[in-house]
Amino acid sequence: MELKEFKVIGKRLPSHDSIEKVAGQTKYADDFGLPGMIYGKILRSKYPHARIKRVDTSKAEKLDGVYCVLTHKDVPHNAIVTRFGQTRAVGGFEGIFRVLAESKVRYYGEPIALVAAETEEIAERAIDLIEVDYEEMVGVFDQKEAMDPKAPQIEEGKSNVIARFKIRKGNVAKGFEEADVIVENEYMSQFIDHAYLEPEAGVAWVEDDGSITIRVSTQVIEHYREIAHVLGIPESRVRVITPKIGGGFGGKEDITVEYYLALLAWKTGRPVKIVQSREESLSFRSKRHPYKFRYKTGAKKDGRIVAVEAELISDAGAYMTLSPWVLLYSTVNAVGPYNIPNVKVDSYTVLTNHPPSGAYRTFGAGQACVAYEQQMDEVAKKLGMDPVEFRKKNYLRKGDTMANGVEVLNTVALSETTDRVLEALGPKPKPSGPKKLVGFGIASGMSSYGRMIFLHDTSRSKVRLELDGSVTIECGVQDVGAGQEASLCQIVSEVLGVPLKKIRIISGDTAATPIAGTTTATRQLYMSGNATLKAAMKVRENILNKASEILGADPAELIIEDEKIKKKDGESISLRDVAVACAEDGIELFCEAQFNAPFGEVPDPETGQGRVFPDFTFGTVGAIVEIDTETGEVEVKKIASAFDVGTAINPMRVEGQIEGGASMGIGWALSEDVKFEKGVAKAQSLAEYIVVTAVDIPDIKSIIVENHDGLGPFGARGVGEVVLTPVAPAVINAVADALGRRIKELPITGERILLAIKDQV
């Protein structure tokens, strides 16, 4: 059964949930409550690195309205081993994570105790009544310094270097010998906050049978397994539900408040709510890993790159969590979408006394792009070549071998995306005044979609045709707002000929919906899209078979559209009548299907050779900026983004991703910085942590290229992360072009620009 002419796929249809959202009906995590609900608060460390000598909770416990005060002694399994992978646990990078600090604190803001009380105010007062005696320890706040064996140890008795990866392809020494020019540079990327508008929040309660339910804003409902482990109860007795999520971007991939909610509900027997403040979110939640990079590139006079040697060092913060895997992404992406014969990459992730770094849209690929795309411009400059022509000479093509020795199996349309970006931007304009400088910058990038293949990722989805011809989808996706649910609805609408308004999707509930895996790694359209397509196709097959009996036609001759099954001669029967006929005959009107990603093994640790990802999405971003040399202000005048998305299930939503990715990347390049000083975040509000507003960015020119050979449903590729990957380096390169020199500290603030101009004079 082939679907060639699409009626619904590729159409700019509003998402099914946008009406409830615009009407204010959607109940996010904090918009929900239960009778008798009490409130939880967290006591956090006042030092970034200190021994805890004494914790006295007695005064807090005596306060009227306090239901319980918990420390690590009250947590059944407080020190847990963090592993990676909800499907298949991969060994080698286990870290110890403590739900509540025991004998020492490792970062400023680390949770030490929990309080549940009748009101938030009482809970706050109780927190203030808990006495903690600290003995301050020397901290380490720089990943390179933390690599020194003499540096303070975060996990005592162990090296701060918690993971390292290597890539060895060809022979870099030989490559550099052949090179006509060699360029060596250092780059960095800063601490970035997700700054989703909805701070971390949730409600937990104890069910009649004693099991625990947690309704929480999360990208990973499957954390119910870890929560059960912490409580020491069977996984079947913990249920996690996620309502609509008010933005995630990776920040709600790790556990946020789930352990605390579960513990407080379990100990008190009452429904408990925790809502973190913006200050807590900015100061203590996971951040995008800062990196320090060193790149050495050798190229021939004709522009061919012959060797790249790179060193990447990331700041993991105080606990391991996802850092090794973010690092692996950076490592595999270290030379970007270029065909380079000789590659040597060494990468390290290092514990420090910062809050644990974590997942953040692009998952390490974006930081690598910040480095390799600046380096591409620097090499082009040394060669005296146009940076666009230089890139085009080196772009990967289908059939080439990537740095990890893996053949590129699908189209790489980078020459096309770059040409389309140049066309959209037009020529570099003249400065608008005598004190202004104009710059043009370009960057190409790639990001994988789907998880690392050694995790053996799967997703399940269920499609059910109702007797009136409407459809119910049950799928455990978590919807962060990028259309995770809506794309599934659109797929089913196409396959079963049912309008979107008659399709309902039930999502994000470990007890009620088939497990669909994480909303991370740009995997939901690919994984749950394919699972839903598979389920819908099975239901379609059953319907067509029954319809063919009724209509007396070959099933292959029938089409489904507009809630009818039609013969070529125009004779038709309604979907509803076929559904009823199927039900009478006991023919299944539902299917729960599972989609398995390609499975593989962990690459060779000494060479890094071996497939890590199912596939990549590629694209190009170009920017034109104007700098005011008197104020240092950078205005992004134009920005164009082109990506080969395979097939756009909904072009309006793809544009939404491209535009959102562009705005986030502009902030990364020019303004966003959590700015830790001795482990303490200086940006504690959204007045100090500067995300772009509507006046800071121009209209973004979104360009959708479709080569229809992605691994997702109908040839789609994932776009959620890649749309951000090359944005910051394009803007950074434009600023460097305008100034005639490169500022290597990020973000490139007005202050840094003025200093650079002053230095030059």
């Binding site: 509003p14 946008s18 904090d30 918009d31 507003t693 960015i697």
Partner: protein, 159 residues
């Protein structure tokens, strides 16, 4: 415990008589009365998710004390239109794909309403300026600007 004071005000046309402590913000009061469409994103006036209309003027309800609403009419996004009967601004947000996670949407729509009441024929630059106090982390603002522009056109036609 701080003393409570009587407060009478209207929300989306319905009258409320309550007693509140003087330190309670309008945001907290509205949410406790069930108006959960008024979102709490920062409680410092930095993000605009909690915007409501107070006698037609947009305010950040997190920076407004509940007692300041004495005798006033508050309008939230649910007061503009319902799922069955959306306001033209809400309709345009849906049609133009201006909603992703949706957490900024209620405040954004309220800000747009107050703005278009004053400036029914704005340029894109004026729209951007008008919503610059409302943060959105998902959309890059472009489709929100498209939606407000389209809503303005439709509302002008309806006059």
């Amino acid at each position: 415990m701080m003393k409570k004071y009587p407060l009478e005000f209207r929300v989306n046309g319905k009258k409320f008589s309550v007693e509140v402590r003087p330190n309670v913000t309008l945001l907290r009061l509205l949410r406790s009365l069930g108006f959960t469409e008024v979102k709490s994103g920062c409680e410092k006036g930095d993000c605009g998710t909690c915007a409501v209309l107070m006698d037609g003027e947009p305010v950040n309800s997190c920076l407004t004390l509940a007692l300041q609403a004495q005798g006033k009419e508050i309008t939230t996004v649910r007061g503009l239109g319902t799922m069955e009967n959306l306001h033209p601004i809400q309709e345009a947000f849906v049609k133009h794909g201006a909603i992703q996670c949706g957490f900024c949407t209620p405040g954004m729509v309220i800000t747009a309403k107050a703005f278009l009441d004053k400036n029914p024929n704005p340029t894109r630059e004026e729209i951007r300026e008008a919503i610059s106090g409302n943060l959105c982390r998902c959309t890059g603002y472009q489709k929100i600007v498209d939606a407000i522009e389209a809503a303005a056109k439709k509302m002008r036609g309806a006059r």
